[in-house]
């Protein structure tokens, strides 16, 4: 079985979010970069867990980005995975990224393609669904559990207000979220091994973006919290009713 894990580079969750160049570019100054948590904790670790049970599984990692994504993909290789592919395209248009991944996926004939449920920077949650259309392959979003039995996949996904279990046959694309696997930390052996694992760089083939970012804004600061005395909950109810008008 061959698994393709999609990896994206995102700012650390505690990063200060600011913009430069007239609010048209994300300010990368002082930003700590990480593997998008959904890609790492749930997709990648799930692939590793499957490989631990069946060592014949091959795990390929793919990222679409510039050379500055390489530390992230090395870290992903340190967690696990056999080799990595970086498509040298710095576009932030999901459609471009998905088409680049689809081109690699078509060549690799993967049984399982895993993405995180969304990235924590652009929150687009689009790649899995786009791959579904580009590769004409079954897509199950918001997966929280997966078992593979031969060519059958048993998947549990989140639905609004509950869970749905289903059976389908490989190949499939899953977007993964909490529940799929548990967060891991790379060990020294993994870090050493990652140095020599293949990281192939492929030139971009897709250049036509469908969208363009015009500007960023940060939300207006809250006007400040209005404190209510602990002994005066009648006042809190009045504020929620008459001022906020939410109850």
């Amino acid at each position: 079985m061959k698994i393709l894990v999609c990896i994206s580079k995102t700012p650390d969750t505690t990063s200060k979010i600011a913009f430069t160049e007239g609010n048209t570019k994300f300010d990368e100054n002082g930003v700590q970069w990480i593997i998008n948590p959904y890609d790492e904790w749930y997709s990648l670790v799930k692939a590793i867990v499957l490989k631990e049970k069946d060592p014949s599984i091959l795990i390929h990692l793919i990222t679409v980005g510039g050379a500055d994504t390489e530390p992230i993909i090395r870290k992903a290789l340190a967690l696990g995975g056999d080799e990595a592919i970086r498509v040298n395209n710095t576009s932030n248009d999901s459609m471009v990224v998905a088409q680049e991944i689809a081109a690699i996926a078509k060549e690799g004939a993967y049984d399982l393609i895993l993405t995180g449920k969304e990235t924590i920077d652009y929150n687009s949650a689009s790649i899995g669904s786009m791959l579904c259309a580009l590769l004409d392959t079954t897509f199950i979003p918001n997966a929280i559990a997966l078992e593979v039995n031969g060519t059958t996949a048993i998947v549990k996904r989140e639905i609004e207000g509950g869970e749905e279990s289903c059976e389908t046959s490989l190949p499939i694309i899953l977007s993964c979220q909490k529940g799929m696997a548990e967060q891991r930390i790379p060990n020294m052996r993994g870090i050493m091994a990652a140095r020599t694992k293949p990281l192939k760089v492929v030139e971009a083939i897709i250049h036509n973006a469908t969208t363009s970012i015009k500007k960023f804004d940060t939300p207006p600061a809250k006007s400040g919290v209005k404190l209510v005395e602990a002994g005066n909950m009648d006042e809190m109810v009045r504020l929620l009713k008459e001022e906020a008008k939410v109850i």
Partner: protein, 320 residues
Amino acid sequence: MVLIYIDQDDQEIKKASFEAISYGAALAKQLGLSAEAILLGTVKNNVSELGKYGANKVHQVNNTALNNFDASVHSTVVAAAAKTLGATVLVFAHNINGRAIAPAVAVKLSAGIVTGACALPNTEAGFVVTKTVFSGKAFASIQIDTSIKVISINQNSFGVIAGDGTAAVQNIDTAVPTSKIKITATDKIKGEVPLTEANLVVSGGRGLKGPEHWGILLDLAKSLGASTACSRPVSDADWRPHHEHVGQTGIQIAPNLYIAIGISGAIQHLAGVNRSKTIVVINKDPEAPFFKAADYGVVGDAFEVVPALTAAILKSKAGA
């Protein structure tokens, strides 16, 4: 024509779809186009009533196989119908099913897409859609450069606008591919409003000290008719079920009112709730970072404040 996707679950139209229609109808008006909806499968609702949210017409693919959701099948059917009908803008709710198919539909129509929109597009020069990015910590204005446009709208960001009106319902005959997915079980939490659809949410954190103390929170939720949620440490410790976890890695919500009890307000938690309209924080630590993101706050012991708030709400309701 603006085509709005109607999401259903268990043959009930989802609340998020009413908001998507309201948004799509406002957008159609802005563009001078008609607002039409597409419904896959059969539902128990009276479909013509979708007119009251602004749909002029509803196109229904009357095939019960579509009552089970399959992203591949549903996106294929919606894209084919959009082509037949000549839709130029497609609107989806940015809920679980909406975001699973909107990007696939965009691929099939060679359309640009913005997911998680939070306002109507600016169409004065071009077509620029504002969406939330960085988990609610910023907004991006994104121009769609293709002739067909796809938008998914964040839940609770536009609101449901109901008026009068009846939609004409007509069947649309579209080939339905066979699903490769066999649904084996559905496990739903009975009698509760899904958190993503709740208008009022009461949420607890480690400050409540243990699952045995949740009674005061449940009483408050009951007095308001609110859904309950919790922070990550609480769900990790199994004090509360995982489906209640809101935050960066849990569920992201945008209710009208979010009451946080004994939650310090770590940045990862805020990322899941910062789109709430009104935030109330109850915490005994006046330095808790959550107060900076709150509209109203109470510095005090939750075990005294929460029952007092419940009593005040019940008193107010009895008087009203």
